[in-house]
Amino acid sequence: MPIIVNLDVMLARRKMQSKELAEKLGITPVNLSILKTGKAKGIRFDTLEAICKILECQPGDILEYKEM
């Protein structure tokens, strides 16, 4: 899929662990892993908003379009 999820990069920049983010988002670590590995079919605006709020970033920092 040409949409890349750069959640790992943002987590590393904020020095936050996946488990901590999952807890703050109120989703399971498994679901966060699905999102990080690009296996998710979509991301809800609610989830994206919460990620941006927690990681203090913009949606563009999380999602990237790359032509394949």
């Binding site: 989703i27 966060l32 998710a40 079919k41 979509g42 991301i43 809800r44 989830t47």
Partner: protein
């Protein structure tokens, strides 16, 4: 959905009780007929009373003929015992926390297979040995239709499982 759960719980209980009743009666009848316990012949030996346990009070009346006993009595008791057991399991599906699962589809599949594929061969087999009443053929048809409805329901559930799996990938 709360209404469905309440109704299905009540029907689950009723079907389970009916199933236990039919199957227990079947087992008790087989025991009595094989051992002669609680059996009282009447009508010059043409009929039998199966008495309530440890009493002389008639519980069931049957013809003293093995074809009648097997095809018009025991077969009905056992097959309806199984039918009510499977019905109870289908009703149990509707008060589970997660409705669309592979296990629930399996319960529906067992139920529709039993209703579609069993009644007709049983009625045809019984027809060779005893006189099958017209009402029985009507029941066979009703069970077939019930099976078909359940088949459609199982297909809807299968679609539901696919949609749910897809939905689970939206984070």
């Amino acid at each position: 959905m709360a209404q469905t759960k309440i109704i299905s719980k009540i029907l689950y209980g009723i079907c389970l009780v009916l199933s236990v009743g039919y199957l227990a009666t079947g087992v008790y009848s087989v025991f009595c007929l094989l051992t002669g316990f609680g059996i009282t012949p009447y009508g010059e030996g043409r009929f039998l009373h199966i008495n309530y346990p440890f009493t002389g009070e008639p519980f069931l009346n049957v013809d003293n003929d093995y074809r009648y006993i097997v095809f018009s009595f025991l077969l009905i008791l056992v097959s309806y015992g199984i039918f009510f057991l499977l019905s109870a399991r289908v009703f149990r599906v509707f008060f589970q926390s997660k409705l669309f699962t592979r296990e629930n589809i399996r319960e529906l599949k067992v139920f529709y297979c039993y209703n579609i594929f069993f009644p007709l061969p049983l009625a045809v087999a019984a027809n060779f040995f005893v006189e099958v009443e017209a009402m029985v053929w009507g029941l066979v048809f009703i069970h077939f239709m019930l099976g078909i409805f359940c088949l459609f329901l199982a297909n809807i559930f299968a679609q539901g499982v696919n949609l749910q799996n897809e939905q689970d990938l939206f984070i």
